[in-house]
């Protein structure tokens, strides 16, 4: 996905075209994926974390 972004950015697609707008969709997908992973890890951490002192 990251490679796709770079390809479109440096390809011959004009700004404002459909492909150019797709960049933002791809970036948002990446963002959402990492958000979901993080929420999962936070849930896991809250369950297992021990509180010292």
């Amino acid at each position: 996905m990251t490679a796709f972004i770079v390809n479109v950015r440096f390809g011959d697609k004009p700004q404002g075209s459909r492909d150019f707008k797709a960049l933002f969709a791809v970036a948002m997908t990446l963002f959402v994926i990492s958000l979901v992973m993080n929420i999962l890890s936070q849930l896991g951490m809250r369950r297992y974390r021990e509180v010292y002192q």
Partner: protein, 336 residues
């Protein structure tokens, strides 16, 4: 294993089991040692490869000349100064905000859903692929959502400064993007450092009648300082090696000038106006130059790229040494 004539069977069994567990213990030790040496070995191979390829191409003229169509004359000057401006501006923006936010979250903010929301988002932002920041930087700083171009003139007592709006493909756009990129890293690392301050120090400070602010200023921050510095250095090292977001905000691949036309520290005195103009100039950066050289077909440019990688590694090493010196000095002072 030999069995002595009068030996009971039970001890024999136990001795067998002991031998087995000793074996598994040794196996585990070997596995751990292998993991360590494996990582180190790969690093050494990579490093030797780069040194072997690039060391002979390193020279003073490589550091002081611009990129060229002839690999023998290509140099890293524009990349060095571009990276310098990008990273120092980004650190200047991100470090005060990041440390401030960390102090607020650790010392002042009350527990609640808002703090949880901020925490989840912070750790998320620290892990988002850097190219997403590149897209953000392109939309917000380079284009400003398609704002109609205009130039903002600011009159200063000694000269005037023209700021293009939107920023376009300038050092400032890149620095803002990198600042956003390292901000969550700075915050997370600073929070860890603040959390590691022993509660006993705090309690002692309060017991002596210090206010909340005095405790933070004179006890908590100095104790957390080494950890904060480590976090900042890590963040800066990350920023100096980032390629993808800079590609997106439009770092130029081929630039024949440095930001503000400052080619050596002396130039800052010769024409100080360059210091003000630098943020609004087009730029390139070390990783961008390396990326560009690696993707060229000529074999000679692979050596140029290797030499540039060595320069980048050297710069990083300088940062790390500076960090350990700062830490050591702080620790010595804390002990007094």
């Amino acid at each position: 294993m030999s069995v002595a004539p009068g030996e009971p069977v039970v001890t024999l069994l136990r001795r067998d089991r002991d031998a087995a567990s000793r074996w598994s213990a040794r196996l585990f030790e070997w596995a751990c040692a292998f993991s360590t040496w494996f990582g180190l070995g790969v690093l050494v191979v990579l490093l030797l490869g780069v040194i072997w390829k690039g060391a002979t191409w390193l020279s003073w003229s490589f550091l002081t000349s611009y990129d060229s169509r002839h690999p023998e004359q290509a140099g890293i000057l524009a990349g060095l100064w571009g990276s310098f401006w990008l990273v120092s501006l980004a650190a200047l923006m991100a470090v005060p905000i990041g440390v401030g936010a960390a102090v607020f979250l650790e010392e002042y903010a009350k527990k609640g859903w808002l703090r949880t929301l901020i925490e989840v988002n912070l750790s998320n932002l620290a892990g988002v692929p850097s190219i997403v920041y590149g897209i953000l930087g392109m939309a917000v700083f380079v284009k400003m959502f398609g704002l109609r171009p205009k130039v903002l003139e600011i009159w200063l007592p000694f000269s005037s400064l023209s700021i293009p709006l939107p920023f376009g493909r300038t050092v400032l756009s890149g620095a803002f993007t990198l600042a956003l990129l390292i901000l969550p890293i700075v915050i997370v690392a600073s929070r860890e450092a603040l959390r590691a301050v022993p509660p006993t120090i705090r309690h002692a400070s309060y017991a002596l009648g210090a206010t909340h602010w005095q405790t933070i200023r004179h006890q908590v921050l100095p104790t957390a300082f080494p950890g904060i510095v480590t976090g900042v250095i890590l963040a800066v090292s990350r920023a100096i090696g980032e390629t993808a977001p800079l590609l997106m905000v439009g770092a130029a691949v081929f630039v024949a000038s440095t930001p503000g036309r400052i080619e050596s520290p002396l130039d800052a005195f010769r024409h100080p106006k360059g210091l003000l103009e630098a943020p609004f100039d087009p730029f390139t950066a070390l990783p961008i130059q390396i990326f560009n050289w690696v993707s060229r077909p000529e074999a000679a440019y692979q050596h140029v790229a290797a030499a540039a990688i060595l320069v980048l590694l050297a710069v990083l090493q300088v940062f790390n040494v500076a960090a350990s010196v700062a830490r050591a000095r702080m620790r010595r002072r804390a002990r007094l």
